[in-house]
Amino acid sequence: MTVVQDVEDSPVVAVADGIAEEAVVPDPPDQPRRIGGLSRTGVLSLCGAAASGLCIAILLFGQLAPLSGAFGFTVVAYATFLTVYAVLTGLEEDGPAIRDKVMTVVLWSAASVLFSGLVLVVGFTLWRGREALPHWNFFTQDMQAAGPLDPLSNGGIAHAMLGTLIMISIALAITVPLGLACAVYLNQIPGGFSRFVRTIVEAMTALPSIVAGLMVYATWILGLGLQKSGLAAGFAISVMMLPIVIRAADVVLRLVPGTLTEAAEALGAPRWRTVWHVILPTARSGLATAVILGTARGIGETSPVLLTAGFTAALNADPTAGPMISLPLAVFSFVKSPEPTMIARGFGAAAVLMALVLVLFTIARLIGGRGAGHRSKGQARRAARASRRDVQRFDDLHAPALPLFDGENH
């Protein structure tokens, strides 16, 4: 609205004001607005503003005002930096451009705060884990023979690593078939009921993990009277992972191009063949990503395991009997101890856990970076080879009589 008014106003004013009409200065040619990018003045004023913000904050905190504290210093320095930057930009630009420049800096800062949080969390864990990790026994022994006062050269987390492996395998054995089948159901059999299932699953993605643990505790341990075991923990992790896997897989399956499905059906394929040979292979990389990301979440959850797996310091490879421990639970119980060596073990286990999540995440990115229907070079080559084989097969079938093209002669 304001734009239109501006355009209409200026000629009216010019005509009404006779004197101004003669002295009218030709407008400077329209300059397209620069969007993004850095100019030399921009960089210079950023540096100048940063320097002056820092100096004013040092001056205020050191000499002039009774202020103190690292946080207050940062806030004052940042606010001064923004103000000075706005003023500097205002020397040669108009209002909207000033707001744009200042807000761009603010957005950059928000993103850097968040990402530096990530770097701090991961880096701090790996850094504090450096005491325990160089000891080889840390990976090969359990804590059965090691007391809280023993040095790091005695005892390790082999029992927790094995426990995590067993629990996540149980959880995967449940969630992968069930979760993928449910995602295919949501996509392939539309209707009121599947919409209802989808709503429930979406609401359950943020199910508090301790509630999943409580549910298995209520049914498995209180209801059926069984003891805490790795199997119960696997069930608890599955309850927590199912909605995450279903939701991610559902999103991926929705991206499969409809033309592919239609082509399969036009060739007369029944629905199950279409799903099995067209939809699932097309979405394979996305489905793998969904499963791996769900695994990364499931591996790291402590609270369902806390309620259902019990606690042990010994290696236990049998998920059906006896307590079992997982990596996050081991971290949790290590750092509750006041002994520095136990805390060092806790950080070591946390670093191993973090490394595991990082590896899973990298694998997920590597195979899941492509959308549905985009193939890697190897896949494309295999597909080309398969279709050459098909052409060959057809030729072999029809070569003797050439019935396809010379049908009339017979």
Binding site: T104, L114, F115, T125, L178, E202, R271, S303, F361
Partner: protein, 343 residues
Amino acid sequence: MSSADASASAEADSEPWRSEDPVRPTAVRGFGDRVFRRQLTAAGVTVLAIMAAVGVFLLLRATAALKVTGFSFLTTAQWQPDVHHFGIAAVLTGTLLIALVAVAVSFPLALGTALFISDVAPRGLRRTLVAMVDLMAAVPSVVYGLWGLFFLQTHVIGLSRWLSQWLGWIPFLHVDGAQPGEPLASSSVYTASTFVAGLVVALMVAPIQCSVMREVFAQAPVGEREGAYALGATRWGVIRAVVLPYGRGGMIGGTMLGLGRALGETIAVYLIISPVFTIQPHILQTGANSVSSLIALHYGDASDFGMSALMAAGLALFLLTLAVNFTASSVVARSRSGAQSEA
């Protein structure tokens, strides 16, 4: 031989597509398809049954405790189930306060980062940034808890002191027993507080909020963006005029999804807070509580009745998060379906 037959019959059947009544293909479901559909439906029903079982079994186990206390379950702050004097007034307010601190801190961060990724960041960097946000959501909560306990706690005391010193006149930022003028005063009144726990949870929920917001922002219609640029808007002008109004549903829904996650966070909160069973509205002061850490703290030494009381607390948490999540997903869904605009 058979192909010769087929071509012969095709010639005999003179151009069926020219005939008056078109041939309508009918869907014939073979045996395989019927079995397939039944299996898929069974999978859907199983998943639904598992999800329903969560609520049903919690309710079954909680009835013993709820029958004893009745309505006072919601108003009692103490937790002494063995003498039948317990309630979730303190833990529920504690949970809400931690979640509110978390959302208040994470919302600007998540919004800024989402806008940064969708509009400001250099194009080559965007995929990496998206992956980093996803990675942040996958970091185990116990790792965040460790970081909060051993790193953030010691570094945030200065901030807590600063806030209580300058803004202590605001009721919820007040700290009992703080000595603002004393440089050597003990800093233990500031540790293990709602605020520290909220900061850690904020870092955990920010990536969830950020990825929902970014997805919605990326869907803002290109035509409207370009129209705004053509009218001479700056990048911030486009964000204000096109991206933010379009993405409002995603912002609200993403924030609430983060809130749902923050309400249920257990281990990080458990590691940081020192539990108190009074309603503690001073977020900077030591002592806080939450439903999930109450369960994690007491499940080991609980009697049968005490376990039932914990189940009741878990049920309350479950219903609360379910309500928040339902609202969130319906807000997100509505914003996406209703906001289709012609580019």
